[in-house]
Amino acid sequence: MSKRNSINRINDQVFKWFGIACTIFGLAMLAIFLYSVLSEGIPRLDWQFLTSLPSRKPENAGIFVGIVGSLWIMGLTALIAIPLGVASGIYLEEYGKKNMIASFIEINITNLAGVPSIIYGLLALEIFVRVLGFGKSLLTGSLTLSLLVLPIIIVATRESLKAVPNTIREASYALGATKWQTILYQILPASAGGIMTGVILALSRAVGESAPLIVSGALIYTSVIPSHPMDDFSVLPIQIFNWLSRPQKGFIVNATAAIIVLLGITFIMNGIAIYLRNRWQKKIKW
């Protein structure tokens, strides 16, 4: 064997072990984090904790307001972001001509996906809270998060539409279908799995966000269950943030328990997304 070859072989081994070490490092960090959160939080996690309102005493306090707020935020964000995002994706992919304006929009959407979330919070503070006067309401919060996740939904929609082979479009046109009928009856059903996966991932991101909501004013003490989009609210991440800034040990434990709940929600949502993706991949083979 030549010298060159044995050097290549050594390099190969070095990089292999380097890669394995990196992977283990990442997984170990996650395991340590999970262990410390779970060991501290699990004992605190009971029905009383899930259904109680905030309280000055850590042992009486619960995350009910946060859970309800997060569900409201998720629902409203879905209502706003899904139609806007999917429609934009359809327009850009199926209708938009491939010209300068299209590529300009495309670059901007990609950039928007990379904007730090706190910037969206500042934007929301100016536009939704001050100019439009929506206050520190659920509406402001969900509009803010909608802006944040729109790029994710648009990109996911476009990718899923792109994955539908052109032969399906042609088959539909050849049978006398209009463009809209083709999109509605063929393209969307065939790409629904991918779009839904993107939507769920986007919503799970929205549920976990706190920075933009803190900036736009949701960091307030509220012990009232919101019942209207214009109501004040709190969400799980803000509740966690809030408790972590208290000096009492009891609130820190509360925060870890709330983290477990939030992690549970995101895991479940990501699980659904993965399940949908696999199911659709199995169902449709071109």
Partner: protein, 250 residues
Amino acid sequence: MEKISANNVQVYYGSNHVIKDVSLNIEPNTVTAFIGPSGCGKSTFLRLLNRMNDYIEGFRKEGDIFLDGKNIYDKKIRVEELRKEVGMVFQKPNPFPKTIYENVVYGLRIQGIKNKKVLDETVETSLKKAALWEEVKDQLTKSALALSGGQQQRLCIARTLAVQPSVILMDEPASALDPISTAKIEELIYDLKKNYTIIIVTHNMQQAGRVSDKTAFFYIGELIEYGSTKQVFTNPEKELTQNYITGRFG
């Protein structure tokens, strides 16, 4: 009267001149084969007849094409209506990822036809005409993607027949199929000729010889020779045709 009549048709993709001054007439209830080497413009010409090139960027056409005496590129013609009259079967079987039943009735559903009886009857008659009924009549609710390639292609033909066209364009319909499936498609073409005008693009000389009444030979965008299949194959007027058919190039 001719079913289809093309006069001095030119097609450009951007600055690419892909169809050069083609004129030809097609009689009703005949099978016409378009032959020629890859990239000769035969598929492009076929797709002019149901305006499938309209979406291609940079597409430009000169000259007129008439179907039953009507200019199909007239502004008053709705392209969706034209495509109900001129159906198309593609090279690769492309059933929708839906049930067999839904594949066949798609063309009717988009016209707003909801009557269950009409839909059921259409499914049966179309699948029978496409010689697929006996094989699938007990599994109409099964996914079309579970069928074999040959069955899928016959399903695509059935789907096309369901909207009752008078012309069927076939773009190398058997090139992705095994010999037995190919033979079935060819038999089918022979049967369908009674009621439809069929134009088929093929790379397979034997196939053109077996199924078609007339043959058009295209070469680099030009229509070199057009005549009865028998004459084109046994006694071509042009040397180029002779060379292509005998396999000296292509």
